[in-house]
Every structure is written in structure tokens, then in C-alpha cells.
Assembly symmetry: D2
Homo-oligomer: 350 residues x 4
């Protein structure tokens, strides 16, 4: 891994980098050079804070002096359509942080990178800032390798984006705190339903393809969760069902939270993949609802299950105060690294 | 209909009443008589403001001097289990208005009323305050008729409860404004998803079994809705699909809101009924999602649909400021009417 | 008052009008005439919903076919500076409803109208839509009279704006419901402070220059208010102080809400006026705090007062769902009236 | 500092401790001993999360088996009035986490500790859990020393509480994130006011007696702040005023955030102290408003300042999701430490 001292190394020397905050003593690119340009790509699903990161990158590039800043719509696919690139200025991104989603339309998929570089070369970016998940960073790596192949100096900088918070090398990913805040509301709803109806289970499925961070945090924050199932656990379904039966017999209601990723542990998915190359998980929420319903039918016990899948209502909100502050820092760091000529991923130091 | 002047009429003379706000000159019951008692029943699904109404009824009964106030858990079924009745005081309901749902567990179903009266007679309520929908008010009418049959003086007072707002004789039902507020958030989420993803439709199903009030109000409040389908409309599905195709071809995204009640107009339900005697509607949300998806597959157009069903997250929140104020008034009016000996439903005058 | 039937009457025949919703059979102005233009003026303090009204007026004018729509910055003063007028389109107002305040900077003051008409004539508006309070409507009347004097056909349409809700001829003014929602939060804060500290009074001053609507509604919604003082009441201060003493001796805390307008009833103001011609009221909040503090000092009783003045935090938020829906209707009605040639004020029928 | 290995050391051997999360192998106290008791004291101003911490401490003590849990009202003063102590159970604290403030009334002041111990001995707590700021922890130290003097075994455990976040040894204090969330709303209000009125400055004073964490975070989160003044800075007032003049001349509005602690740097306080021994700071908000107003009067420039002091509206809200989760952990850690016999302060490891 590159260290802070390597400020002289050209952009394409260093593929994995954790940049440090603050302006560098030495810039690798001259931001005032009219040829200097930067492109911003946003891939994968929407996530709270995306607009904050975009806004901050634009403002910081502008503060450095860069005047050709392009926003690429439609992820990597959009790279191929330079005539569709948006010319971004501080004025154009002024209020976007108050909106959820992304001003750059997200899309999945990954066209051949050398071709996309050809397209990109038309506008000659010396910095390419990308935010997305696993697939996006693999793509960024390919982009980086292509730039080396054709000896084009371009800092390829990633800003890791996953609402699930499962990036080991950083404390927290942006959007995660907002997601927990919204997820807590869904859990509260499940609790109110469970308590306010006769023989009622409130069941909530929360995001987390391979991890239970959102499920666990929301369960702790809401405090009225009886059962929280996450993919990190080795779950004995029979014991879970017996415990649910016990809860319903004793207090007459309960709240269950299950992480999406249990669709790959509790049950088996078909193995199909989506356009972004991610395995399509079996939908564990309705499955669990049906499984519990069947058990209670066998037992002859009365039951109502109120099932809540708040996925889109969680991920579409604007960044909360915590994530808004955090995205300020992330966006600035990404630009500092790019201007100093680093390729790599942006992460606050621990 | 009884008028305000009939303050001398015994409780069981008047079955349909729109009471007027404010204390009456003449009380029919003596609230300070130790035999005076009141029972509160809450039926049907939960609705924002239920706890506010319960709190206000308890406080106002207490202010009149009634000291035996019973909260019946589990709707009409709970009437049969007087040993489970809660003894309510202002202290016990002090903070319930800050919580969604109902402190009295809701249930559907309607056991024979004469039997239930027998049970109720054990505790001898001179006022029975009921909040619920159609079924509940039919039940209240039966209760009223039973009281007449056995010549037991008891003011049977209903507080109309439907989150859908479809009670013709009153301007607005409690909980409706809160529901619109929360529904607007769901529509905003759909808009953010639609705008932030490639070729994306945001589709939201909103409550309204026989009416489109929530759908219509949320669409107006959110302002970014392209298509709003409500059961009051005579919908030409083919035209709707063509319009959606047009929107996707021209601006690349759209937002659709469909009211639950279109499950009885756009499609046919099986005719089955739930425990409360309400017809189970076909689920129009997933049906519409599938219908649009099939059309776009035929057309060979790319499409993602983000479908949001926020039902439980809407109806489980606490009353907003508007409904909280409104429920204060409703609860007080219900008690004024009961103390004056009126049976009937509680509604603000227009 | 003009009736709906007068659609043939020229714009300047009818100065006070309550328009009715919906498009008219007969238009007075031809919206497709390239000479057709409309100007929007926003005066006085900011109020939730202003941006919604502006957005709706622009969209509805556009839907009629009007293509020259001007947003005038700085109230009537801005009328004199036509070079500063904003050219508004649906695209420019697309997202403004999600922001508080007004995209047209508010200002107070009222320059001579014939002069301003001269300025306005440069751009020849056939409709002038104004939102503001008393002063603004007086100004609108002067504008109307000037248009008659110089025989210039221009529908002068007012949309009454007062967060205080004190316009007798309409049920509710826009922004009022949002204000009550936010005010309720301030009252809740006062309650939490009062209950969470020893010997503590939570004191909140709420808007309402001549009326107590916000104070009263927030007190009802929050439900934990012990004393609510509004200008409509004839207040015996000594009794109020004795009641406060009683509350503190018995339960150790209390919550007091006082409406701004008591600064003209409980105490006397100096009689000075602000730039908009409104009398500057004495600030009743700090006065009441000092008065209570002095009394408790005399009594030798321990006391902490937590005083909250949430004025700017209330009026600066975006319209809530209720007001957003309502402003849709108001803005549309204003344009329907203007296109039909009516001058007057816009109000939903009761 | 004690280490984790000292589980055999009696409670009064170790006065400063950073406990580690999780149950210990060896308990020092036998929670099932009927003589085992614990007392909870809450001092100083209210702070989001206080009720969460209290709830978690009660639940965790209960889970260990302790059945005599006392909540002391009124801070250290309340220690002297054991007849006023509340007997706490999981049922009694069930819903308190949804409310701001503290169920234990806060008070400042610090009576002689040996006397208070006499009072406390009546109920013989083997664990005393205290949450508060500097003064409280000094008090806790005195309590600890008294317990040693009289050889009474009692784990004295502090949970650091300061909404300002200025405790060096821990990453973040509880309530701070919630405070930043609410403070951001106040800054947004200031921005809307500044932008929506002619020649307008939005000025917000935010908490932070000796630090600018809340001011800084809210400024970053809100993103529209032009000037942020914190006590850690060496401020050249003349330069600040010149910059403000420049902003008003160029863009016509600006937003200023000033931390409370600048009342001890920008200006001098009188040196008086409050009941808790904290120096009373000069109120920097109104002072800055007056200073800017005077400058603009001298310059002959038009100006309106909208001043917002949201202190009580910030600190009185319930913990947000982040703080709610965090307080779960803190409360559990405090009890784990106490049961293991440690005295000290509770802090997550870094």
C-alpha cells in the first residue's frame, strides 16, 4: 500500500490507496491547466449521501481550480456516451444534498473498459472519481489497468458505497447511519402493529446482502425486537420457531427482524445473477412469513403476521446529519487524493 | 335525527346522533354516582390517533367525575372477558398519545351482543364508547338495540374510525391527515427511485378500500406523480399502459400511485371475507407491477419497477399535530354526548 | 361580490373576489397571445408553502399556454427593477416545493404604484399574482385602482398569506398547519425541560400578532400545556401568577404557552412601526419570564425558566403534506381566476 | 489504570477505570443476594439518551438478578431523600427511551458526601451508577473516597454525559449525534431566512461551552454556512466583520454559526458561577448580533438579522437511532463493570 510520502508517484503507480484527509503539499496535476478535467461516475443502487459526495467532489475540484467537471449518467454504460455527460458546476449541485437518490442516474453493468476509455479520452479526464460497490471497484481497477496499458495519466479514485456497511478496511460506509435511522422506524412500526393487534407478529426484512449490520443496529436502537436473524449467525430454524411459539403463547406478540442475506443462509437462492453480476438472493422475508404461518397452522394457534419490507423507503431518503457531515469529508478526501495523483480508494483513517 | 334540545331524552331513545361540542346544560347520568361506569372498545385495524382518542375520553370522563373507566382489550371479543378489562385513569393514559397503535389491542369479529351485555352488566357501564369502522358501528347499533331490549340505560357512542376518510357525513376522519403525511414520504421514495435509476418506474400502493382520498392527497402533496389510479375512476387500462409507455420513452422514468380499492375495480377479488366481515380485495399493487412488466417485455423495452407498499408504516405512526388536535376535540365531544345520555356517532358539525 | 357567472366582466371590474376552483368556460385573456404575461410578487415574512404556491402558479400558467412568467424579487420594491425579474418556467420551479422560504426574496415596503406600473408596463403583464398579508392586499388594491386609472387590463389576484391564520373569510391560510406542527415540537421541548429539571417552568412564545390560533392548536396537540395565553382573552395577570405558583407548589413543574399578540394586550408596545407598516409589538416572552421570576423571588421559591422562542425555526420549514396539497389547490385557483379576468383574492369556498 | 485482569479487586481499589464491554468471568457482587442493590443518579442538564442509559442499566441489572434498583430524583440532592427514591423495574422503564429528558429529574449542586452516604446506607447500594458531567464525576470521586473511608463496598461507576462531546478519552459522548442532527435543522432555518429575506443574515448560536464540535458538525452537515466561530479558534473579530460585509455586498445574505463557548473567548464573562459550579458565560449570540448591527449602521448598509438560539429544542429531543444504539451499549457496559466490582468511568474502547 502506498503511503502518504509518495506524493511524487504518478497516478497510475498505486492502485489501492487509503488517502489521508487534507490538501497535499505537492499536486501531481495542475488544476489550472485548461486540459485538466475530471469525471464522476455513480454505479449500483441508490444510497443516502450519493448527492452529498457528488456535490462535495464538484465543489472541491472547483476550489482547486478545475473547471471541466463531468457528471456521467447511467454508470459505466454512460461513459460510452460522452455527448450525454453533464457539465457540473457548484451552482448546478448547490441544493442536491437535500435530495435522496443521485443526480447521476445509476445503472448496473460494465462495458469493455478500453472502449470506454476511448470515449472518455474525448474529454480527457485526468481524474476519474467513482462511487459504487464491489463491481464498481473491480471496474475501477480495470480502468486503472487500461490507463496504464495506454500510458494515460489519470487518477482513478473510488469512494466505496454500500448501504450494508460491509467494507472491512473502513469504520463505516456512507449512507449506513441514515439507513439505520430509517430502518429503526420500520422496526417501530412492526412493534406497534404487533402490540396493537391480537396474536400478531411484526416481521421486518432489512438490507444486508452478506451482513447484518443494519438489522442489528436497528434492533438495538428500536429496543423492542425479540428475534434478530443475520447471515453471520448459524441459525437453527427449529429453535427459532420454538422460541417464536413460546413468545406468542406467553406475551401474545413479538417482533422479528431478518437480514436480507439470510436468503443465502436460511434458504438457497437459484444462483441467478443480476445485471451488475450480483447473485439474486431468495427473498427471505415472505419465506419466513410463510414458514411461521405454516407452523402456527399446524399448531392450531391464531396468528396474524404484519410483514414490512422498507427497502426502497430506506435507501431513497436524503443523508441524515451524520452522513451529510461524513460525505463532506469523503468527497474532499477523494479530490485531495486525485489532485495529488493517487489512484485508490478513499477511506478515513482508523 | 336528535337535536341538541333533547337533553332530557334517555340514552336509548336516539340511535343516530351527531353530537355537538361543549358540555351540556343537563347531564343524563350522574358522573359522581359510584355506580357510574364507562367502557371503551377499540375495533378493527390500527389507525393514527387511536391512543389520542382513548386518552381524551379517559381524561374527560375523569373531569366529569366518573371514576370507573374500563378499557376493553381485543374489540368486541374482549367485552366477553370482563376480568381482562383495564381500569383506566389519567395517570395510565398520560403518555399514550405519543405512541402509534392502540393501548387496547384491536381485534375483528363480533360475538352475540346479548351475551356480551351479560358480561358487561357485571361492571354496569352507563356509557360505552366505541371506535371503529363500519362493522364496529353495526355492532354498536346491535348493542344499542340490546340495551333497549333489556331496558338497560347505556349511552352507546361511536367515534368513526377509518384511515381511508370515507365517511360522508363528516369532513375528515381522524388519522387521515397523518396517513397522507406518511404516504407522501412513500411517494417521494418512489420518485427518488424512479429518477435515480435507469428506465425505472416507482409504483406505490396506498390505502383506500373504496376510495382514493389518501392516494389523491399524497399525489398532490408530493407533486411528482405521473399516474394516480383510484377506485372512483372508470379506468381504461389500455390507455394507462400506453401513457406509461409514452412517459418511459420520453422522460425515462415515471411515478404511479394506485389505491388499494382498485383491487375491486381494475381486477376482481375472490369474494372471500376476513374475520371482520370485510371482503378480501385482490392485491392490485403486485398485479399492476406484473401487468406493466409483461407489457414492456412484449415491447422489448428495458424496465425496472420499484414497488412500495407502505401500508403498515403509514398506519402505525403516532398522530401528527393536526390529528392530535382533532382527536382532542373528538374524544371530548364523545364524552359530552355520552354524559348527556345520547347514543349515536360523534362528528364535528359542518 | 362577483359571482361565478360574471366571466365576461373585464378584469378591472371586480376588486374583491372569492374565485372558485376549476377551469372556466370562458377565458378573458388569450394565454397563447405572445403579449400575454404574468408576474408573481411575494411580500412580507416567509411562510411555509410560499414556494409551493409559486410553483403551482407557474405550472398552471404554463399549462394554460402563458410563456412569459416573471418572478419579482424583493416584493413591491422589486417591481421597480424589471431588469431583475426572473423568467420562470416549470423546469426552474421543479423542486422548489421541497424548500422552505421563498425563491422570490421577500421584502416589506410599498413604493408608489403608478410608478411601479410604469416599470411593470415594460413587460406588460396581463395578470399579477401577489401573495402576502394585509399590507400586500392593500397594495394589490392600489395596483388594481391604478390599472383602472390608466385603463390597463390586468387581473390583480391576491393569495392571502398569514401564518397566523387570521383571515375571517377563509377556513385556513396556507402554512398554518405546518406552523402548528413545528410549534408542537417547541411545546414538547418545553414540557421535557420542565419535567426533567427541578422546579422548572417551560415557557414558549408562539406566533400570532392578533390571534392565538397557533398557540391554541399547538397546546391542544401537545397536550401537556398548563397555561395558554392568547390575545383574544381578557387576562387577569394576578390570577395567572397565582395559578402558576399553585402548579409549582403542587406538581413542581409547568408549561406555559403565550401568543406573540399578548405583547399588545398584557403589555403596551411603544407604537413604533416596521418597514411594512406593522406596529412593532413589545416582546411578551422575555417580559413574562421576568415577571414570573420576580414573583418567585418575592415568594422565596426556587425556579428555573427555560424560555423558547421558535419563531424562525417554525416559519422557515418547507410545507408539510397538508399545506403542500392545499397550496396546489390555491395556486391553481389563483390562475384560473386570473385567466378568466377576475381581480380579487383567492379563497377556497366554505 | 486497572486492567481487565483485576476482576478480583474489590470495588474501592480502582477509581478511574475504562471498563470493557461484555459480561465478566468473575462477578464481585452476588446479584442474587437480597442485600444487593443499585442506585442510579442523573445530574446536570438534560441530554438526549439519558432515558436510554437509565433503561439499559435497569434492564441489565435485572438480567443479572438484582431486584432492588433505585432511581434517585434531583441529582446528588436527591441522594439525601431516600424516601423519594423510585423503585425501578423493567416494566417501569419500558417506554422511556422514546422520550427526551430524564425520568429522574436533574438538578445541580453537591451536598456533603459522607452525609449522603449515611442516607444511602439506609438502602445499602452495592453499586451506584451516575451519569453527568465534570461536576458529577468529581462528586463520584468524592463518593468513592467516602466509601473507602467507611470501608463500604460499593462500585461507583460514572457514565460521562456531555452533549458538547468534549471528553478526550472517548470518541463520542452520548447525545452528541442527536444534538448535531437537531442543530443542523436550526442552521437550515437560518439559511432559509437569510436567502428568503432582503439583506438578511441568519445567525445561530449552538452549544459547546469549551468546544465547537456541535457548531462544526452542524455547519458541515448543513453546508450553507459562511462563517463558523468556535472557541478553539483565535478569532480576529475585525476580519470576521469585514468578511461579513464582503458577503453581504456580494451575495446579499449569509449564515453565521457561533459556538456558545465564544462567550469566553470573543468576549469576557463576569466570572459568576451557577449552582453546579460552572462559570456563567457571557451570551455571545445577542452580543454578536448587536456588534454586526452596529457595524452595518456605521456603514449605512441595510441589514436584517434573524437570530436563532435552539438550545432547549436541541437538548430536549429523544435520542436518535445512532445514540439509541450507542446508549444500549454504554448502559450495559456500566453494569458489567459495576457487577465485576469496578469503580470508574464507562467508555467504549478505542
Amino acid at each position: 500500500m502506498c503511503t502518504d510520502q509518495d506524493t511524487s508517484s504518478p497516478a497510475h503507480r498505486c492502485a489501492i490507496l487509503r488517502t489521508r484527509a487534507g490538501p497535499r503539499e505537492t499536486l501531481h496535476f495542475d488544476p489550472h491547466d485548461p486540459a485538466s478535467a475530471a469525471a464522476i461516475v455513480s454505479c449500483g443502487g441508490i444510497c443516502p449521501g450519493l448527492n452529498c459526495v457528488i456535490r462535495e467532489i464538484v465543489n472541491m475540484l472547483w476550489a482547486y481550480g478545475v473547471r471541466r467537471i463531468y457528471g456521467i449518467k447511467g454508470g459505466y454504460k454512460g461513459v460510452m456516451e460522452p455527448e450525454e455527460w453533464l457539465e457540473l458546476t457548484p451552482e448546478k449541485v448547490k441544493d442536491i444534498h437535500t435530495e435522496g437518490g443521485t443526480m447521476l442516474i445509476s445503472d448496473r453493468g460494465n462495458p469493455p473498459h478500453l472502449e470506454s476509455l476511448a470515449a472518455r479520452d474525448l474529454k480527457n479526464p485526468s481524474a476519474c472519481l467513482q462511487t459504487g460497490g464491489d463491481g464498481t471497484h473491480k471496474g475501477a481497477m480495470q480502468t486503472f489497468e487500461c490507463t496504464m496499458e495506454i500510458d494515460h495519466e489519470c487518477a482513478v479514485v473510488g469512494v466505496p458505497k454500500t448501504i450494508d456497511n460491509d467494507v472491512p478496511m473502513i469504520d463505516q460506509t456512507f449512507g449506513f447511519d441514515t439507513a439505520c435511522t430509517e430502518a429503526t422506524k420500520a422496526v417501530n412500526s412492526a412493534y406497534v402493529e404487533a402490540k396493537g393487534n391480537a396474536n400478531c407478529i411484526g416481521l421486518v426484512k432489512l438490507m444486508g446482502r452478506h451482513c447484518g449490520f443494519i438489522a442489528m443496529n436497528a434492533a438495538l436502537a428500536a429496543r423492542d425486537v425479540d428475534v434478530c436473524l443475520i447471515p453471520e449467525m448459524d441459525i437453527d430454524l427449529e429453535k427459532v420457531l420454538q422460541h417464536i411459539e413460546h413468545l406468542m403463547r406467553t406475551k401474545g406478540h413479538c417482533v422479528i427482524v431478518v437480514a436480507e442475506g439470510c436468503g443465502d443462509t436460511l434458504i438457497q437462492s437459484s444462483g441467478e445473477k443480476d445485471a451488475g453480476g450480483n447473485k439474486i438472493l431468495a427473498d427471505v422475508g415472505p419465506w419466513l412469513k410463510d414458514t411461521i404461518t405454516a407452523r402456527f397452522k399446524t399448531l392450531g394457534l391464531p396468528l396474524t403476521i404484519k410483514y414490512i419490507d422498507p427497502t426502497y423507503m430506506i435507501r431513497s431518503v436524503a443523508a441524515n446529519s451524520y452522513d451529510s457531515t461524513y460525505c463532506s469529508v469523503l468527497g474532499q478526501m477523494a479530490v485531495h487524493g486525485a489532485m495529488a495523483g493517487y489512484s485508490g480508494i478513499t477511506a478515513p483513517c482508523q
